[in-house]
């Protein structure tokens, strides 16, 4: 077995040699009709979409007319070549080779990963391809202020140009205005994206806790007709159908694989069980390390699981997860009420077991971020009619300037006008003035 170190560069040559020697050559024939798999793509400002392909049959040259199986669109090959790892243009590519082509595609979406390309005159059966990269972690992204919306939009557009795995959906929040719900392949993906937004595009962004799309199996014929199917996906809490018209709710699950030194088994098991996870497997992969497989509800790991795992294992644990379908879940819609009135922007879909802790946390954050007013404010979390958590913001009994004579009025009026302006910007729910910051503090990601 080779001992290698990327850090020191030990035996890297040997690894490459081993790959050449031991990995079987591609099985493909240049005599077959041309057939290539698109496995990546990126956008070049001057040349358009550059698709990375693996040629599984036949040959391709400049000027050939090719068709995308996915879109059924025809393109002409402008340029092609090998990757060494930089682009090395050639005249032709043959079966068994991996390279790139540029064929006049304008949008990265035209070079779908997993797509099959063939010659126009010789259609072939599409390759199995990849399952499309499915976004598993969502985050809401909103500009700090609506006036920054256009610049944030262009920043997101530019960033996603070279990253077709980020799904972008326009979304709007009553609290935060117009924004997006972005889907990422993972938490890290999201964090990197966010950081790039801030650093490269100078965008200041409110990142809200990722909401994981759940599903509902409808039982009402009318609704099934309305939605066009029995099973619907719910992304926005406002769309959550009531229990009475649903036969079951489903939440996405993942199969998580944790590799860690066995000294951390106990802590890891506690962490996982606190996340409604079910252990599927635990094996030793060597005399010191274990591999643990757990079935998690996706919702339980999207926020901070990874970080906690890392910190309790001093960084030694690794985590990976894969889609594991949907499972029945006891999901409920939780409302936040201020003096009895629901705050639409704060409605949350949550698992029944988590309702109390989530509700309490939200109430506490609200209590800390809504300023005291002339009357008491009851901050409540409720499921239907049942209140499950409550905080109270006491009324203040005095708010009046002691002295206001001739010389004081200018200053006082200036202050009052400033308050009046601030008041206009606040959201009024019943008789409660709620500053925008309160929404942000409740909705933003709860980590660190």
């Amino acid at each position: 077995m080779h001992q290698i170190s990327a850090k020191h560069g030990t035996n890297v040559e040997q690894v490459l040699q081993a790959v050449v020697n031991r990995i079987p050559p591609p099985v493909a024939s240049t005599n077959d009709p041309f057939k290539a798999l698109v496995f990546d793509s990126n956008f070049d400002h001057y040349r358009g979409v550059v698709a990375n392909i693996a040629v599984f049959g036949g040959r391709i040259k400049k000027g050939d007319k090719i068709v995308s199986a996915h879109l059924n669109k025809t393109y002409e090959v402008n340029e092609l070549g090998l990757l060494r790892p930089d682009e090395h243009p050639t005249q032709k590519l043959f079966a068994g080779q991996v390279g790139y082509i540029i064929a006049g595609m304008k949008d990265v979406k035209e070079a779908q990963i997993g797509d099959t390309l063939y010659l126009k005159e010789q259609p072939v059966e599409a390759l199995p391809g990849f399952k499309p990269a499915k976004a598993m972690v969502f985050a809401g992204m909103y500009p700090m202020d609506q006036s920054e919306y256009p610049s944030l939009r262009s920043a997101i557009e530019r960033l996603t140009l070279n990253d077709s795995s980020v799904t972008v959906q326009r979304d709007s929040s009553l609290a935060l205005g117009a924004g997006w719900r972005l889907g990422f392949l993972g938490l890290l993906h999201m964090e990197v994206f966010n950081q790039r937004l801030e650093q490269e595009y100078n965008a200041s962004v409110i990142v809200t806790a990722p909401t994981v799309p759940c599903k509902a199996v409808l039982s009402s014929a009318k609704l099934i007709k309305q939605h066009g199917s029995e099973e619907i996906t719910i992304v926005n809490p406002a769309q959550f159908p009531d229990r009475s018209v649903v036969s079951e709710y489903l939440e996405p699950m993942v199969l998580g694989t944790i590799l860690a030194p066995d000294t951390f088994i106990g802590k890891i098991m506690s962490l996982c069980s606190s996340r409604r996870a079910v252990q599927k497997n635990l094996v030793y992969i060597d005399d010191q390390r274990v591999m643990m497989k757990y079935l998690f509800p996706l919702n339980e790991i999207v926020v901070d699981f990874y970080d906690l795992l890392k910190s309790l294992s001093s960084g030694y644990a690794s985590f990976d997860y894969e889609n594991a379908g949907f499972q029945t879940a006891d999901l409920i819609k939780m409302d936040i009420l201020l003096n009895g009135r629901p705050v639409e922007e704060l409605t949350t879909i949550v698992h029944r077991d988590r309702a109390y802790s989530t509700g309490k946390a939200m109430c506490e954050r609200l209590k800390d971020s809504i300023p005291r007013q002339m009357f008491e404010i009851a901050v409540q979390a409720a499921i239907g009619n049942k209140v499950i958590a409550r905080e109270t913001i006491k009324a203040y009994r005095k708010d009046v300037l002691a002295k206001c004579y001739g010389g004081d009025i200018t200053r006082k009026l200036k202050l009052l006008k400033k308050q009046a302006e601030g008041k206009k910007k606040m959201r009024r729910i019943g008789n409660v003035d709620v500053p925008k910051d309160a929404f942000i503090s409740v909705l933003k990601r709860k980590d660190k």
Binding site: L413, K417, N431
Partner: protein, 450 residues
């Protein structure tokens, strides 16, 4: 009918030096009379004496500790500026005079007499016009009270602040509670029914109980008027720094609220009528001078840092100005000597701005804003129209914090304590109602009532 008190008699003696401006015997025009009350023709006058011997830890007024006596030149300049501003304002009558500061009771009584003389020289200053002097209750101050009376002062406002000697010391005051009590007594002797006492609550280490006791003690000795102020931390004062650094703590907000409520109730039980947020009077002995601030009347500010609100000569006679005199005494003196007055800032008040002032000041009075009063400043948009449409105002009316009836708009007992929370909603609504009318010409932009 002129009330014959020692003070009024004293002023009558020097009446020979006064002259009426040709209008005959002054007539006091009652509120809401058929004819317009000459708002543009009268004003109250405020005179600022900027000097103090010591700095109180909480004070952010325009005050200075003089290196040498500037009394003579200050007096001359006060006279000069009074003259200039009276002429500039074109008023024909001064309804009240107030000497504030600093420590006005450091000024020689002759200063008071001189200023009153110059006023009378140029305009009508009625015999019974209220002339108030703020007094620092030291033995020195007390000894001058009689002379102040002779000079024309008809009302004293005594800065007692506290009856606890310990607190007085900590606040940086230069008198004892005994001094204060004696001064009150002397003042009451000279001007019975015309003495006001200032007291501060919410002081460091004060409790609701100690406040209750102090208030009882005060009520045994005070006259017919009490001004009750919550201790306010002002940026730049010594007290502010002490509290920020944690060396001193003041009572919590809720405790302050309790102290205030308690004082209101107690004073009411003792026959005092609260007529403004911080002011209480028995036998209707309100401060007419301060009332004119809250009623949106014109006032002329004389002296370093003084504030004024009037329509000056030359401005097509229409827009009221907010004026401030230069703050620093030495600079102010220079300016007055050079051009007759030391006005540092002049800002024209637009239609809406003046209305806002009328609103904010008027709501401080328990009687609030009468319809007739509002009409003077907003003839086209009455109170119901200006505020009635707002949902928030409806809520406030429903919850009993605001009252809008055929008398006018005012706060209830409970509402008054929360005035500053109510005012932003009123301001938003006022703007919403007035601005469109201004821009489409339904209202023309004159600001002073005709």
């Amino acid at each position: 009918m002129i009330r014959r008190t020692v003070c009024a008699a004293g002023r009558a003696l020097s009446a020979s030096r006064r002259c009426f401006s040709g209008e005959g015997v002054p007539v006091d025009v009652p509120e809401g009379a058929a004819g317009p009350p000459h708002i543009a023709k009268e004003a109250s006058l405020y005179v600022h004496w900027p000097y103090c011997l010591k700095r109180c830890s909480y004070c952010n007024f325009n005050k200075y500790i003089p290196k040498e006596s500037n009394d003579h030149i200050m007096t001359t300049c006060l006279q000069r500026e009074t003259e200039t501003l009276l002429q500039l304002s074109q008023v024909s009558r001064i309804t009240s005079v107030f000497f504030g500061g600093g420590t006005p009771s450091l000024a020689p009584p002759s200063t008071i007499a001189a200023v009153l003389k110059i006023i009378s020289k140029h305009v009508n200053l009625p015999d019974d016009a209220e002339v108030t002097l703020e007094v620092n209750p030291t033995p020195a101050g007390m000894s001058k009270l009689k002379d102040y009376c002779r000079a024309g002062v008809s009302r004293f406002s005594i800065g007692v602040q506290s009856l606890q000697d310990e607190d007085l010391k900590n606040l940086g005051r230069d008198h004892s509670s005994h001094d204060a009590l004696q001064t009150i007594e002397e003042a009451r002797r000279l001007c019975p029914g015309r003495v006001s006492v200032d007291i501060i609550f919410g002081r460091p280490r004060q409790t609701v109980e100690s406040w209750e006791r102090e208030l009882s003690e005060l009520l045994r000795v005070c006259d017919d008027h009490v001004s009750l102020y919550q201790l306010t931390l002002e940026r730049g004062t010594q007290l502010f720094k002490q509290v920020q650094s944690g060396r001193v703590t003041v009572p919590a907000e809720d405790v302050m609220a309790q102290m205030y409520q308690h004082a209101r109730e107690t004073l009411q039980q003792h026959g005092f009528l609260q007529y403004e947020v911080s002011n209480f009077a028995k036998h209707n002995s309100v401060s007419h001078h301060n009332m004119s601030y809250w009623k949106g009347r014109q006032y002329i500010g004389v002296g370093p840092g003084a504030h004024g609100r009037f329509v000056p000569l030359g401005e097509d006679g229409v827009l009221r100005e907010a004026r401030t005199q230069t703050l620093e005494p030495d600079v102010w003196i220079y300016e007055v000597q050079k051009r007759g007055h030391g006005t540092r800032r002049r800002i024209q008040l637009g239609y809406l701005e003046l209305l806002e002032e009328v609103l904010v000041m008027g709501m401080r009075m328990t009687r609030g804003i009468y319809h007739k009063h509002w009409e003077l400043f907003s003839p086209h948009v009455g109170l119901h129209e200006a505020f009635g449409a707002s949902v928030e105002v409806q809520d406030l009316l429903q919850s009993g914090k605001l009252i809008l009836d055929d008398r006018g708009l005012r706060c209830s007992w409970e509402g008054l304590a929360l005035l500053d929370s109510i005012l932003p909603a009123l301001l938003v609504e006022l703007e919403r109602q007035i601005l469109p009318r201004l821009s489409d010409g339904r209202i023309t932009k004159t600001s002073n009532p005709h």
